[in-house]
Symmetry: C2
Subunit: 470 residues, 2 copies
Amino acid sequence: MEFADRQPIRISDVHDEGYAPGRYFARGWVKTHRRSKNVAFIELTDGTSVKGLQLVINPSLSSYLVAEAQIGTGAAIEVSGQLVPSPAKGQKFEFQVEEFSLVGSCDPETYPLQKKGHTLEFLREQLHLRPRSNTLGAVFRIRSAASFAVHKFFRDRNFIWVHTPIITTSDCEGAGEMFRVTTLDLSNPPRDDKGHIDFSQDFFKDEASLTVSGQLEAEIFALSHMNCYTFGPTFRSENSNTSRHLSEFWMIEPEMAFCDLRGDMKVAEDFVKEVVRSVLQECAADLEFLHAREWVEADTAKVLEQVSETRYGVMTYDEVINELQKSGRKFEYEPHWGADLQAEHERFITDEVVKGPTFVINYPKEIKAFYMRLNEDEKTVAAMDLLVPRLGEIIGGSQREEREAVLRSKIEANGMPPELYWWYLELRKFGGVPHAGFGLGFERLLMYLTGIQNIRDVIPFPRHPGYAKF
Amino acid sequence: MEFADRQPIRISDVHDEGYAPGRYFARGWVKTHRRSKNVAFIELTDGTSVKGLQLVINPSLSSYLVAEAQIGTGAAIEVSGQLVPSPAKGQKFEFQVEEFSLVGSCDPETYPLQKKGHTLEFLREQLHLRPRSNTLGAVFRIRSAASFAVHKFFRDRNFIWVHTPIITTSDCEGAGEMFRVTTLDLSNPPRDDKGHIDFSQDFFKDEASLTVSGQLEAEIFALSHMNCYTFGPTFRSENSNTSRHLSEFWMIEPEMAFCDLRGDMKVAEDFVKEVVRSVLQECAADLEFLHAREWVEADTAKVLEQVSETRYGVMTYDEVINELQKSGRKFEYEPHWGADLQAEHERFITDEVVKGPTFVINYPKEIKAFYMRLNEDEKTVAAMDLLVPRLGEIIGGSQREEREAVLRSKIEANGMPPELYWWYLELRKFGGVPHAGFGLGFERLLMYLTGIQNIRDVIPFPRHPGYAKF
């Protein structure tokens, strides 16, 4: 076998009319195989498209005959033959097989994926096979395309990509629930005089955890390279066993120097629009397939198009509270100034008031993180949440507090030790400038794009309480 | 301040002649500031180039006068004025300031970075400021450019990017030293009847660690989507406090289905060439600056050009051992069949035998990982290491063992429990195909590109024994 010498066709390109009819070589896996007396059909996938390639085979073809019994769903094959316009409906081409070769068989008795559809719950127990299913196959192509769109967006604007640390002895929010990272012998850890665990003998000579955010470290690079972003894994050890939480997820966190809240919103709006637009365009077939699933809300495609095109609204938190209160609407949680917005409030604003994506800005300082810049009113901070129709918050960001004295007093007011944040304070002291940034949970964006309802189905290997398999 | 409305010039574009002379707005940080009676000069950086922009100021300019005392190295400023061809040598343009504004001062008495150069050791204690230095500023621009080149390479070839898990209950090599991830109370962990730590009460209801490689999981996606790659953080808890080891580093691991060792080498060669070529081209000024440092080996640029252009050699491990033995060279470690190649051996091959990058293939099975495909001789495996001049191994890869029975017996021979690898074995059982891949440590590539000698200087936040600060 000399695989390197044979260039197979790419099935998604066939569907996009990238091929002239002619003699080709194809490889991949069998989705379905059925034969009648005079003809056999195989739907072949190479993982590039939700739509397979229809192989048409004369059942008396000897290279097919010898393999026939082993060609179940999931078997790997190689074929040579003619790509010709198809007389059948729903496909432009079919592939008339002249040479057939079985590369890897797949026992139909034990193969967990059969040609009939499986529930997403069932597939979640087969993480090693579920990327082969139509739904997850499409989701992961979209995930990859969206990832690249993220990089391209920032690259086109001269942001540098910064790899912020995964293992850290800092704690971004001062309050996140974090996983401990250790090499201590848990059965017999070293203890100090007082009987406390002696972390000075741990691998990093200190208590170390998995990062909850790269923002603080990203600010370092905004103040050296002007514009930067992170795109990496982050972790939360909250015991949240829901369809919207993961213990390990990917975050995108841009950070811009010489940038205020307005500039921050502009980048966020451009970013969401471009990534959505790019995925709508590049993954049209996959999205069409997913959006037609019974568990996807109607008009999802239309909502996404609106998000990629319309001008986003801006409301202050004050205005939102007013709007909610005067609406006469009965909410489960009564809206009142000083409280966080609930999903029902957010959805009311985007779906019924603004009827489109909306930035809510200037939140009460008490409900936002210590690093957000205090406004003139001294009651609110220069924060922004981007709410999108149906989902609610997709982005959270802010202008950062660049005044050292103000930042220090906020750190103290939060009961955090300023000496732990010495370097973060020094960024303000040495050539500090107004700067801003935001964070976007990549999996939430993917749920929004795909219509997938459970976050565990948009990440290849979900981690959540009780589960870190594969 | 309305930052969003003002588009500053980008200094690296000025140097690349991307600007016509005219009136512009510029912002950034002061690298140097000196004045005489009739003129003041400021070298301004915006983080986009190792070369600053020369600002020329009439010291009687009132907006300058009020700020003058505070304009030390590191201070943040904004200026408006005229970009004009420069009469001075070594720069095409200078910027004649008409309006000056201090945005953030920087106290020269306490600012750790002065205009004179600092050692890389000193800068390592100032992780929050070192990206502002010429050397680290350049390194991190190169890191970002190389990262994008990695994504672009695979994207152009339709590989999907897979986010393999960071937290895992698997162990890729069966023997890696791993960091434990836990939320147990270390002072009083739950124990079972026998007094052992009861990990069923830990967060993931099992012993969890940080990944040492995404390869096994990537194979899942090669067998569903044909070609994929990972690019993410990996971890080793070896107590290696050297200039070549990190506890946290970024790895690139492509994996290709229907691919043998030859195909694997082809992708690896194309990959290294394209990434090197792309960085040579895009980061020419940064590389020129770095390669002229006193700690960089002479001719580094020439070596890189060779790597990006020449055809790579291929030698079997047998041939290498023969060549070493017949060389008459006195090695510190006597080469003999069955032993791993040492750095001195590798360097001899690339620098004196082949005189260029070299794949060494078909290593003895005893010194390679269990998942590598057993060759017909049953003594060697279809492994390949790519050695490059001066550095030695930069890539390690192999064709994977796709025969379930052979794989199972290798797992058992390695003393590993096959039931732990049930899903990895099933990938062979259900439509398994010959497949191959490789791994490249991103930081090693960056050391090779930049000439940087200590791996802690090519990653923003190095982690190593005793150190996980920032």
